[in-house]
């Protein structure tokens, strides 16, 4: 009888742990997804802002690229003490 009760508790613990990890993973996926989408939106705004300059013919015409953007995620942001 005691063993049966323990078995039920075991299952509850395992499900709780699984659910916590699942929620953390899903949260991470959603956060990364939002980060990616925000990159595209920010980039588009800067692209639109430089559209007139890029489409104006002048004698000193230069390539309007890359966009003046904030630095993206770099290795040092995800690795601690990188070895070069």
């Amino acid at each position: 009888m005691k063993k049966r009760l323990n078995n039920k508790g075991q299952s509850t613990l395992e499900v709780s742990l699984t659910l916590i990890i699942t929620v953390v993973l899903l949260y991470s996926i959603v956060k990364i997804w939002f980060w990616s989408n925000n990159q595209i939106v920010k980039r588009q705004l800067e692209y639109n802002d430089s559209r007139v300059i890029a489409g104006t013919a002048v004698d000193t015409y230069k390539l309007v690229w890359p966009l003046n953007r904030a630095p993206e995620l770099k290795e040092k942001d995800v690795l601690f003490e990188p070895i070069n």
Partner: protein, 267 residues
Amino acid sequence: MFYLDNRKGQGVVEFAIMGSIIIVIFGTLLSFMQRLNDSQYTEMETFRRALEKACTYKGPGVTGAGASVQLTMMQNRLHADLGPNFMKGSPAQSGYSSNVFWAVPKVGSQAKSIFVYKINEDEKIGDYNKMMEAAGVENKKTHTVRIEDSTSSSDTHFREETGLKEDKAGVTNTRESWLKDTVTTDIYYTIRKKDSDNDEDNDQIVPIAGSKDPQLFWEVKQGLYRDARDNQYKYSSAILQNGENNHEVKRGRSWQTEFKDEETAEQ
């Protein structure tokens, strides 16, 4: 009885299956997100480069400035790899094409019509008229230059080392990897005589040097390197000029645990 003894592991097995499925979904979404990001970035860059090329092109014998440009970009990138290899990366390719006609030719003369292939950091310009002249085509209005399928192959060498150094001060772990990647891209073309329908696929191929096979327009071999300006991984043929074995990319990290003696710990 045997079933009852194993019931404790039921949840773990279920988690193992579910965890694997979640990681696969996570990897798929991550991969899709990177491809979406890269393709959109390439799309923007292609149009800006086509604008610049169309506005500033001054080929030999050109009076005035600019041209009708078809610019195609192909970029090889390294995407995040969820595999066990340290920082190996997963090769991916994105491409896009843009057409811009932005020419101011001298009155009475025709604007130049060119196509440009930019593959990673290398670029090659093709002139439709010159290619047809080289093939002996006299009436250029009845013929077209058509870029056929391009082929791409890569040669990848990857090695990895892990290290553990332990002394009185603590434990230092290191993990390093070396990656050497070379990509070769071949682009072929044919010259076809237009027929009455709009389907270019069935246009007759004009033989070049006695052959109707697609002719090589450009073969470019490029090596992987890390651009110090933006810390991005890129491919360039220039990196192979110092020898094909001198373009290895090294990545690594270290982490350490410090030991404290009892006296220090008490303070």
